[in-house]
């Protein structure tokens, strides 16, 4: 995977956006306080000067800059299983800006952008990076990083080591963890979180990412011919006029939202049978320990050995009610028999778990779509990450049981929308 970041020093070819060519004093940049530990004394002395110079520089600041928060720009979503982090890397830093850039900010930027893995469990999804994005008057790349919530203490420790708190930026965070770990952020890393509702952020994030005109692949896609395994193909989809839509967020648990417009949505329902259930049950049944392992096993297994199908009970179709023989009558139904329990493999069990959870989500989603009168369903959440199996199953289930009325849509940035929404709240407070 190509590194996407290079030292800013090399290509300063962007025009300085300020109207005058007066050198920018770092003290004039909003939020750039002179607070390196060794310079504390200097800061005390510098203050009166700063105020004076601020007043002369003020006319250069346009309205955007006035409300623009200081770097770094993060959006954070602390979920039940994963922490999703979105980081905006400015690519339009001028030479002066770079010179004045506080050391720890620089080091954070370099650390994040020059690595794709952090510690043992942190990952940057490079393939999801959005380049040349303009946010709040700045241009740069948006990076997508994740690590297990379990490792949040290590993250906090790192934040402490890099003196993140000295940057005095607001850290916008959403997800349950923003509430649960609020005090830990304070005590371990001296950081104050600006807590946001996860669903607000989710909706906001989805709508934003989809609207971004990016040179990369289209954000939204669907599966054509999901009922035909040989010809089932992933196709892009333009989500213009997206409303109303049913947004199904499959994380550790599942939330189902009906979105009517940018500012009008409601949480229809949720279910506790989600990604966490899949992983949890898989671990118990097969001894695996990661999501990737579980998916790998599932891809090798045969769920029909584990499930009891209609044909296992009827010897064929249950014609009276139009139930085909291959439909699952009872998930894990064959496991009531000791013999069958002993004859299935771990892979079969993993597959059956995946199929059961996925189909259940599909069922509930379908019923919600019917009740809310919505035909378009968008599935997001990290359960679907590298999980084509589930995506195709969902596409299939939606299509089949609704006789083609419902369309299942997917978004490339899967589980990051909450974090994006949090970032947006930082930049454009609602």
């Amino acid at each position: 995977m190509a590194f996407n970041c290079h030292q800013r020093d090399d290509d300063i070819d962007e025009e300085d956006e300020t109207p005058s060519k007066l050198p920018r004093c770092k003290k004039e940049m909003p939020g750039y306080f002179d607070n390196e530990p060794q310079n504390e004394a200097a800061a005390g002395r510098a203050t009166p000067e700063r105020l004076a110079s601020n007043s002369t520089a003020r006319h250069r600041k346009d309205s955007v800059k006035k409300t623009r928060p200081p770097f770094p720009w993060f959006g954070m979503d602390i979920g039940g299983t994963l922490v999703k982090l979105v980081y905006f890397e400015p690519k339009d830093i001028t030479a002066e800006e770079e010179q004045e850039e506080v050391e720890n900010l620089k080091s954070i930027r370099r650390f994040l952008t020059s690595n794709t893995a952090y510690g043992t469990t942190g990952i940057r999804d490079v393939h999801l990076e959005l380049q040349d994005l303009t946010l709040c008057g700045r241009t740069g790349n948006l990076h997508f990083i994740r690590f297990p919530t379990h490792d949040l203490p290590a993250f906090l420790q790192m934040g402490r080591n890099k003196h993140f708190s000295s940057l005095h930026t607001t850290l916008c965070a959403t997800g349950g963890g923003a509430f649960k770990f609020e005090s830990d952020f304070r005590t371990m890393a001296d950081l104050e979180l600006h807590k946001l509702d996860e669903l607000d952020c989710l909706v906001r994030g989805v709508l934003y990412i989809d609207s971004v005109m990016s040179s990369g692949p289209l954000e939204c896609y669907y599966f054509e011919d999901p009922t035909d395994p040989d010809h089932c193909a992933q196709k892009p989809y333009t989500l213009e006029n997206p409303y109303p839509m049913l947004l199904v967020n499959i994380g550790s648990g599942v939330s189902i939202l009906a979105v009517y417009s940018e500012n009008n949505y409601k949480r229809v329902t949720g279910t506790s049978l989600g990604g966490g259930t899949f992983l949890g049950l898989c671990c118990l049944l097969t001894g695996c320990s990661t999501f990737e392992e579980a998916l790998e096993m599932a891809s090798q297994g045969e769920s029909t050995r584990v499930d009891k199908l209609v044909r296992d009970i009827y010897g064929g179709d249950y014609e009276r009610f139009g139930l085909p023989g291959w439909a699952v009558a009872s998930s894990f139904g064959n496991m009531m028999s000791k013999e069958k329990r002993e004859s299935v493999s771990k892979e079969d069990l993993a597959r059956a778990t995946l199929v059961t959870i996925t189909n259940n989500i599909g069922s509930i989603t379908r019923m919600c779509a019917l009740n809310e009168n919505i035909e378009r369903v968008v599935f997001v959440g990290n359960f679907l990450r590298v999980n084509t199996l589930s995506m195709k199953l969902l596409a299939y289930a939606m299509d089949y049981w609704s006789k083609g009325q419902l369309k299942a849509l997917f978004l490339r940035h899967e589980g990051y929308f909450g974090a994006v929404g949090a970032l947006l709240e930082l930049l454009h407070p609602s």
Binding site: G79, G80, T81, G175, G176, G177, F179, K180, F181, E182, D197, L199, G251, S252, G253, R267, T269, T271, S272, L273, G274, G275, G276, T277, L279, G280, L281, C282, C283, L284, L285, G287, S289, V306, D307, K308, F321, L323, A327, V328, A329, S330, S331, F332, G333, N334, M335, M336, K338, R341, L349, T356, N359, N360, S363, I364, M367, C368, L370, N371
Partner: protein, 582 residues
Amino acid sequence: MKSQTSAVESEDKFERIGGSSIGGGTFWGLGALLTKTKRFDELLQLASKGQHSSVDMLVKDIYGGSYGYLGLTGDLIASSFGKSATADKEFSKEDMAKSLLHMISNDIGQLACLYAKLHNLSRVYFGGFFIRGHPVTMHTITYSINFFTKGEVQALFLRHEGYLGAIGAFLKGAEEDNPNQYSWGENYAGSSGLMSVSPDMNPMQRARSGTFDMLEMDRLERQLVNLPLLQDPSSYIPDTVDLIEDAQAREYWLYCFEEALDGVVKRAVASQPDIPEAAERAEKFRQKYRHKLQTLRHQPFAYGSLTVRSLLDTREHCLNEFNFPDPYSKIKERENDIALKYYQKAVKSLEELSWEDRQFALVRGVLAGNVFDWGAKAVSEVLESNPEFGFEEAKRRLEERPWLIDSFDQWLERLKGPPHRCALFFVDNSGVDIILGVMPFVRELLSRGTEVVLASNSGPALNDVTNSELQILTERIAAMDPVIESALREDSLTLIQSGSSSPCLDLSRLDKVLAMVVRERQTDLVIIEGMGRAIHTNYYAMLSCESLKMAVIKNSWLADRLGGKLFSVVFKFLPSCVFGHH
């Protein structure tokens, strides 16, 4: 609960609206894999002891508390098995089983709610073999339904859930025999009730039936229907007190029935003096009935709703099972003979009274006659010791007015108006009651020009008069009374079986012929007599025509409950309840 959902519109119109593959098989299959338990009931037992919060990820595990913005409390399950994706810990079988139970019950509950919402239904019935009366399962499902519909949809369970398919198949097979002409009743003696819940609690039952439940149903040769005069048949509940809800009442009645057992056994044996093994059978009856009472003490809902009626009916079924179909048969005969001797004299002295005095005397006569009831604890003791307890004596001892419930003045006023077209009279005891109390009262109605339908039991219960006995009695009375004789002849007095073989009365399960006659004759007055039929049941029943409920309370606990004392009188006359008239 296996995996199907159907919407039922009427008895034979239904539609399968959807299903789910997550059901009992999933619970059993996953449960067996996770806990290595082989038996379904064992799995449920494990679940009842587990703590699911060690396995499930709750909202508070993610939020550190509740998710206030959305009103999701901290204890809600956010992700089932969400904590088990770790190699660090072992999880106990009990905890995993509990988690699994929650997962599946909640899921089923949620889907049921989504379907209910789509089809605008407010009641969900759970059938299939998953639940089996296990409180923890029913509780979880009920909770789930309440949660997802905010209390708008009701979860209902069926005691014989697992048998529904089989029963249906049986009935279908019996179709040539036209099963719609029959009605069915549960036989409490043969049914095991909800046994699978606590296999350790009923050693006797266990030894007999092993690990399976039994359901015994009686096919009644005549069809049973609603009384057309019920104001609201869909909301009619016969029973006055719910012994499942009312623990104090339950405590009392279970004790009362247990205490009365000795007397009942003696009576049973005495009714078959020439048969040596009667004593043995009576003992078996005692064991069986006592066992049922004990089961009910621990599991009040084992046979469905628990009421004085069901306790009485269970006793009758058990007596029947051990071949004591009518232990009071000889007593009834004897008392009828004695009472018949007095009949003409009683009628003559009534005729000598003024109209108003006669109305009062007739009512007192019914009430006094009603005191003669072998069912009541207090009276049977007296009757045992003093068989000459006279009718006159009873009248004299009757409570002075005002009675506990006293609408006699309104009744008298009504009688000054036009005669009723037809009166339906549900009678009670044999002997003094029917002959010296009820018959003169009926005679008076007939002489006013009101037709009378006498509804009596189809089968014996305690010393209640049965239809076949009443036929004979009425013939004998007709032989001494021209009024009755001509009424019989002209059909203005008819005797019809009620369809019931109980000391109580369920107005929604009456003989079809009776219902038909009631309609044909445009019945505008219903009279219900006796504690079993007017107090234990139907005390609050609302009818669309005028009604009269008469009884003497012969149980001091019940009298006290109702605010009176032993032998208090209930005389409740209600004008018609049709909307707009009151």
